[in-house]
Point group: C2
């Protein structure tokens, strides 16, 4: 399992690519949850706060992504499923599915990535 | 909590830097465990297997780190504690401590980073 802020896949590719060289994962699940901090805190504010901590790093901070979820988690899940499907470091025959976890009800709902505009 | 292959800090800086802008974490704990896969599988083999999956990515794969733990986990913990202490994106007053988790006994042992050669 890979855990990070927002459950974002761009931070997880190193781990996922390693795992497929030392095992045989047939499926990767991207799961984001409702009320995630990254739906409430956005990159612009995070960058501003980080530039205060590290003013000398301003240009690299401004150029970085911090994983905000701008709209629905269904959209961020579709984005991350698409990222993994497009990654050359993930085997083409790996099944990649997206699940939305509702923390209020415990319900897991598969996100149909065929509806993605990506 | 951030989880990834090897418990390596270089993948965790995005999440850790975000968390300190949206909360007030006074302490970061780096924990690696005995018998970790990354102590058994080394970057050279991982790179070779990934180049077979993605031959067009050979140069970026060769230039990447995949998180191997070459020697003891005490050494990899010291390396990651030092990385976080040196990171400009982590506040200087954040306490960063390293713990080694022995999966056979359940024992947690603090790793004294003052003994580090880093």
């Amino acid at each position: 399992m890979v855990r990070n802020a927002g459950g974002r896949a761009f931070d997880a590719i190193r781990t996922l690519s390693v795992l497929q060289t030392i095992g045989a994962p047939g499926t990767i699940v991207v799961m984001h949850h409702t009320d995630c901090g990254m739906t409430h805190f956005h990159d612009a504010d995070i960058k501003k706060a980080l530039v205060e901590i590290a003013p000398n790093e301003k240009s690299s901070i401004e150029a970085s992504r911090f994983g905000e979820i701008k709209n629905s988690i269904e959209e961020s899940i579709r984005e991350d499923v698409a990222l993994l499907k497009a990654s050359p470091l993930i085997k083409d025959d790996t099944q990649i599915i997206g699940l939305a976890y509702d923390t209020a009800t415990g319900a897991l709902t598969e996100v149909d990535d065929s509806k993605s505009a990506l």
